[in-house]
């Protein structure tokens, strides 16, 4: 019972309902006389509580905006707003139930077959189908309120199911010295025992002490209200616990998930008032519900008698206990028993009004109609073996018990209790203990012998009638299945896909045994020959939010060593992958201008930085880059493009030779890890190469001092000679900057005299401050990546990943000079050789657009109205006095001075291709 103190009220479709303490929503509705809680999926038939154990589709409602809540296992809380689903306009007068009467026009596959046909009408039909065939509605307002989370747990032994067998397994595994996690989806441990107290009267002390032993055991972690919904490889058990998804890694797994009561298939078996005995028991004992009126109980085992006694004790009049067996399955006392009989049909539209019972052979004339309000069925269990099947255990049909069970376990798995077809209390405990012992020894898995049951197999009831629902979720009748088999969908897997049986919210819990049975009969085969469909996760319904999770670790944030300085300087940050980078310090135009005219400083620490040492580095670089490096002199740096074997540009960066056998490489921010792993892979394929690669991306910070006055500023904090003779363009020098050993690369991404200064991260802020101080007189300013992007665009310097994509090779990207096909071998050589000979497709070119309107990326490039390219970068350029950018255009339009058409704000504008930089085409400023 829940800890709630007094009664509470909530609303159901606007009506106020009072719930007793601890009652479920469904229990409260039942007590309030609400017996129709939903409408069925296809025919919109009235549906009431059926399983009352959270396994069927009937009680799904929208609760406080969350669709598809199983109200029979959800405790009522004050002020909940519960709404019925699938009913339009309302439950009582569901106009769509007309479909029920049109049944004969709606065969299996109806929506699919009929509504797909006149193609042009499909959008209309689709809108209707969406409205009528939906399963609740997502409330867009409430969706964002929830916080989902995830957790990873490890356990030596995981026991799934906290019933009698599971509790014993947990205790035994703990006794064997293991850490145990017991996962149970109910409020309280105990499983079925909780809801069939009649069979437990003499064992109550034993039951209570067992629960206590589990709870008190420090080595057993109990996860209550937690649903194991998937078993994945290497024993990863996926568990939903409320809004939390737990990834539970198990050394060994004991599955003690029990079983689900299986329904009989007979006409009217979906009418409100027809229920499963275990559900009735739960409602009696847990919810304190009553079932006023007369009841017919159909059974083939003692649990039906228990239910009948319990109902009678609560004031229900038992008018018949219909037992399939020739002799009563339990002591009938003074119950009105009819042996050797079964139920043939029920009548009543919105609720059962009578039941027809008679001999098992339907043809017999001696059947009789009995007036009743309730029909309760207790005809055995389907094993809840989905998780075992997912895990790779082999399930076979046990004829003697008429159920599927495991005869060969996946590695590390064991099962105990009803999921094995074991129902006897003492046998369950024995099996549980044994499974716990095996798990503690780490010996789960292997085959077991199935000993046939000593008692005679359950009596099979022949099929009945046509509107007998096998599948409540999808409204699939027995006749539908027979028709589908006749149409050729005779295999159980294809039958499932075609008829959608087992594909609804219950995922086969209610309908699997019935559908296999029907399929077997329709094909004239045995159940064993028919087999079952493949079990896939999730075994239980899971909200999508739980699967998506919050995953805090995914929101990784990386900050450079200079982050605090940027923050103090008022930087506006931009997310660049995980990195926080200053987009600007408030005025990107001024930042642009200062670099062109004076001097600016930008943090480029996010670049990937690799140091390579060894005798064979030059050979390695010759191999992984299409251009040449063997002859690069010590003290020089060169631009390079990394291509894959298909000749596609993966990344670009600079390669500096610091010493004969010591090289320093940079990569783009986004590809830092990718290039690192790419290079490491090639090194792994050639263990004979003497190359050691160290990723110094985090250890090294970098800043780019750029602008015509940058030499002057650097000189103030650097002792060496910085003249163009000593440190020319493309020099790679090792200098001392502000007292700190630095690698200084004279490169010019932004098109001005500039120095990329790499220093140890922990000294970066010191160097940065010294440079800012030294540049104060020259009017130095920090600049962000917005200014940098504008500056580089003036020079038509591409950004790998921004201006290139998964189809870009160096020839098309305007870098043909970088490919040295005369090298004997390098990564991508074969593909690039082929690409060179091929007719050019699209080319990456610069374009100039008069005026200051900037086409957003990726604006379309049109030729004669056809989409022929796209803009990858565009900005207004003060030096060009126009908007400039880069675009992919057809080869025919790629010549200097040619006109291209760009779509901008729905209009077509003309731009001119320019194949040389918009600024300083000779590069004199770079080299100055």
């Amino acid at each position: 019972m829940s800890s709630q103190e007094g009664p509470c009220t909530f609303t159901f479709d606007g009506r106020s309902i009072t719930a007793a303490p601890g009652q479920t929503i469904a229990g409260a509705l039942h007590q309030a006389g609400v017996h129709v809680v939903s409408r069925s999926f296809k025919y919109h038939r009235a549906r009431g509580l059926f399983c009352a154990t959270g396994r069927c589709p009937n009680c799904l409602c929208t609760v406080d905006g969350d669709p598809n809540v199983r109200t029979c296992v959800t405790p009522a809380r004050p002020d909940m707003a519960v709404r019925s689903q699938n009913a339009w306009p309302g439950l009582k007068w569901d106009v769509l139930s007309i479909f029920d009467r049109l049944h004969r026009f709606m065969p299996v596959g109806f929506y699919y077959r009929v509504m797909h046909k006149p193609r042009f009408l499909w959008p209309v039909f689709e809108a209707i189908v969406r409205r009528i065939a939906g399963l609740g509605r997502v409330d867009r307002q409430s969706g964002g309120r929830r916080r989902y989370d995830r957790q990873t747990l490890h356990s030596d032994v995981v026991v799934i199911g906290g019933g009698w067998a599971g509790m014993h397994a947990a205790i035994e595994a703990s006794r064997g010295g293991c850490d145990v996690t017991l996962v149970d989806d109910r409020e309280e441990l105990g499983g079925h025992a909780l809801f069939d107290p009649v069979s437990w009267v003499e064992r109550e002390p034993e039951f209570l002490s067992t629960v206590q032993a589990v709870v008190d055991d420090p080595r057993i972690r109990v996860l209550k209200r937690a649903t194991a919904f998937g078993c994945y490889e290497d024993r990863l058990v996926a568990v939903q616990a409320g809004d939390r998804m737990i990834r539970l890694r198990a050394g060994q797994v004991v599955v003690a998930t029990g079983g689900w009561e299986k329904p009989l298939v007979f006409p009217g078996n979906d009418r409100p008032g027809v229920m499963l005995a275990s559900g009735v028991q739960q409602m009696l004992w847990r919810d304190g519900c009553e079932f006023p009126g007369d009841v017919v109980v159909v059974t083939d085992n003692p649990s039906g008698y228990h239910a009948a006694h319990a109902l009678r004790a609560r004031g229900t009049r038992v008018v018949a206990v219909v037992d399939h067996n020739e002799t009563p399955a339990a002591d009938p006392g003074d119950l009105p028993v009819r042996t050797g009989q079964t139920i043939h049909s029920v009548s009543g539209r919105r609720h059962v009004t009578s039941a027809v019972v008679g001999p098992l052979d339907a043809a017999a004339a001696s059947s009789e109609s009995i007036r009743c309000r309730w029909v309760v069925q207790a005809v055995g269990f389907t094993t809840a073996s989905g998780l075992l099947a997912q895990a790779g255990c082999r399930l076979v049909h046990d004829e003697s018990r008429d159920l599927f069970r495991v005869d060969r376990f996946a590695d590390g798995f064991r099962a105990a209790g009803a999921v094995n077809g074991t129902f006897d209390i003492d046998a369950c405990a024995r099996e549980g203990r044994l499974a716990g012992e095996v798990a503690a020894a780490g010996e789960g898995g292997g085959s077991i012998d199935i000993t046939p049951s000593e008692t005679s197999p359950p009596v099979r009831r022949p099929p009945q009638g046509k509107k007998a629902f096998v599948c409540l979720c999808e409204d699939v009748t027995e006749k539908d299945l027979f028709d589908a088999v006749a149409e050729g969908f005779s295999n159980i897997e294809t039958l499932k896909r075609y008829s959608t049986v087992c594909m609804g919210p219950c995922q086969g819990k209610m309908c699997q045994s019935g559908s296999i049975d029907a399929c077997a009969r329709a094909n004239g085969k045995t159940v064993a020959e028919t087999g079952r469909t493949t079990a896939r996760p999730p075994d239980q319904p899971v909200p999508l939010g739980v699967l998506a999770g919050r995953a805090p670790h995914r929101h990784l944030v990386r900050r450079t060593a200079l982050h605090d300085w940027h923050t103090e300087a008022g930087a506006v940050f931009l997310d660049s992958g995980a990195w926080k980078r200053p987009e600007s310090y408030g005025d990107p135009s001024a930042e642009y201008q200062v670099v062109r005219e004076g001097v600016g400083l930008i943090d480029v620490s996010t670049l990937g930085k690799l140091e390579l040492r060894g005798r064979d580095v030059a050979e390695f670089l010759e191999f992984v880059y299409p251009n040449r490096f063997a002859k690069l002199k010590v003290g020089r740096v060169r631009y390079g493009v990394v291509c894959d074997e298909a000749g596609i540009i993966l990344d670009d960066g600079t390669i500096a030779r610091l010493e004969e056998d010591r090289w320093f490489l940079t990569t783009t921010t986004g590809n830092a890890d990718g290039v690192d792993s790419w290079f490491r892979w090639w090194l792994a394929t050639r263990p004979d190469w003497d190359v050691r690669l160290t990723n110094v991306s985090g250890a090294t910070a970098a800043m780019n001092l750029a602008g015509p006055m940058s030499r002057q500023v650097l000189s103030a904090v650097c002792d060496g000679d910085l003249s163009t003779e000593a440190v020319p363009y493309l020099a790679a020098s090792q200098l001392t900057v502000a007292g700190v050993p630095a690698i200084v690369l004279r490169i010019g991404f932004v098109g001005e005299l500039g120095y990329e200064i790499h220093v140890p991260s922990h000294l970066a802020e010191h160097v940065w401050r010294e440079l800012m101080a030294a540049g104060a007189e020259s009017g130095i300013r920090p600049f962000g990546i917005e200014a940098q992007r504008r500056l580089r665009l003036d020079k038509q310097h591409l950004l790998a990943g921004q201006d290139t994509d998964a189809l870009s090779n160096p020839f098309d990207a305007g870098l043909p000079w970088i490919v040295k096909l005369d090298k004997p071998d390098f990564v991508g050589r074969s593909a690039l050789q082929r690409a060179q000979g091929r007719e050019r497709g699209q080319q990456l070119v610069g374009f100039r657009l008069e005026g200051d309107r900037v086409p957003p990326e990726p604006s379309l490039v049109l030729v004669d109205g056809r989409l022929e390219g796209r803009v990858t970068s565009a900005r207004y350029s003060p030096v060009a006095g126009a908007t400039v950018g880069l675009a992919w255009v057809p080869a025919e339009s790629a010549g200097n001075g040619q006109q291209i058409t760009i779509q901008l704000d729905g209009q077509l504008v003309n731009a001119v291709v320019q194949r040389e930089p918009f600024y300083d085409p000779e590069g004199t400023r770079l080299k100055s």
């Binding site: 074997e645 990718g674 792993s677 892979w681």
Partner: protein, 109 residues
Amino acid sequence: MDDRGQQGREDGVSVMIPCPHCERRPAGEFHFGGPLRDRPGPEAPTGEWIAYTYDQPNLRSVQWEWWFHRAACRQWFLVRRDTRTNQVLESAMPGEVATGMPEGEAGDE
């Protein structure tokens, strides 16, 4: 080769990979690098290069394949795996495995 988008991987695969440096770790920490194959020589016919570049063998068999422990030691190594059952059989350091050819022939279990 791109590591972007790899971060979500830990949800997709639950199998444990035995890293020769770090021992058994969940597959989400790793990056799959495809089956171990011999790269054609520079003079190999174009057809061979095209097959190597664009065709993924994707065999139903036991194969040696590359794995990269991206979230920890950042080393590449080889794993022998049965692609039919997804069972990981063993791991090895690069250079310890001679041939790039899959062991068994494709066939049903």
